[in-house]
Symmetry: C2
Subunit: 154 residues, 2 copies
DNA sequence: TGCTTGCTTGGAGTGCACTCCAAGGCCATA
DNA sequence: TATGGCCTTGGAGTGCACTCCAAGCAAGCA
């Protein structure tokens, strides 16, 4: 009935985990400390992400403890990547909301990702520009260092 | 007597302004608001940079107002680039101190720049990784959008 | 002479993204 | 039974990089 029948059961509509390496055998339920070990985030941060609406609903054990799924880990993977781009958390929350709202937000999600993509491209360009400056300075200092050494020697 | 005789008179030992486009004719003295216009920084930020030791000594007019030189603009250019790399302001202040301390800090400056260069390279790699993820997601949504349209039509 | 504009200062305030705290529940091992 | 470890919560605190404020000075101009 929709584009992909599996869509509504997934946290993110196009998951497709590239690095599913950190998951043991067949289980699909991790404590917060396991997720801490996997992601490098702190437990504080994981709970905070949940509070601000950046996470989908996280399962709980019968005692009320969080039990993260592989899907949750995939989502955290994406969040981590987006974070590296400098995307504000608020924008990621917006994206999470769109995912929760269902298939009719596909267009908006597409646009958000497109915008992000453009941002990433220009950040890469900026960094390459900076790299050129650094290289110039570094070779200056390397040369200056050599000259200094030979001056000491001679 | 040292590696480069002009060294000690320059803010940064290997300036070599690549984009000296924003400087009028022959003058070498700009008000804070001109610098604001050139750099996109706010006057607040420029004064703050000075307070924390990120700037060399800035000239003053007879009434005590700041008068920035081309050298200062070059330095701000570098600072702007380093800022884009995510380098903490404290590290930039450290670099500024090394420059102020004179030629004997060449090695340390070299190492700081080398470290920064490596950071920039890995940031670029991260961003390219993220770009790949975004591209995958974007093409998913593009396809989903097309499928949705054809479903509506058929 | 007063008004406006632009600048000065130290210090206080802001927004973001965490980061931590106190108080307490659950459960396994000694 | 108690000790330790891991987890829970709401709310407060932190660090960074600005960002703003109030009070005041100097210059240009009606």
């Amino acid at each position: 009935m929709t584009v992909m029948e599996t869509t509504s059961t997934r946290t993110d509509s196009c998951a497709a985990p590239p690095n599913a390496h950190r998951r043991p055998n067949g289980q699909d339920s991790y404590t917060i400390s396991e997720v801490v070990a996997f992601t490098g985030l702190t437990a504080h941060t994981l709970r905070w992400y949940e509070r601000i609406g950046l996470m989908p609903h996280i399962d709980r054990s019968h005692t009320g403890q969080r039990r993260y799924s592989n899907r949750d880990l995939d989502w955290l993977d994406l969040v981590g990547k987006l974070r590296l781009t400098g995307m504000p958390v608020a924008d990621m929350v917006r994206y999470a909301e769109l995912v929760r709202e269902g298939d009719h937000t596909f267009t908006e999600r597409f646009e958000l990702l497109e915008t992000t993509r453009r941002d990433v491209l220009s950040r890469i360009a900026e960094l390459q520009d900076t790299l050129a400056v650094l290289d110039r300075k570094i070779s200056f200092y390397a040369e200056a260092g050599r000259a200094y050494e030979s001056e000491k020697a001679g």
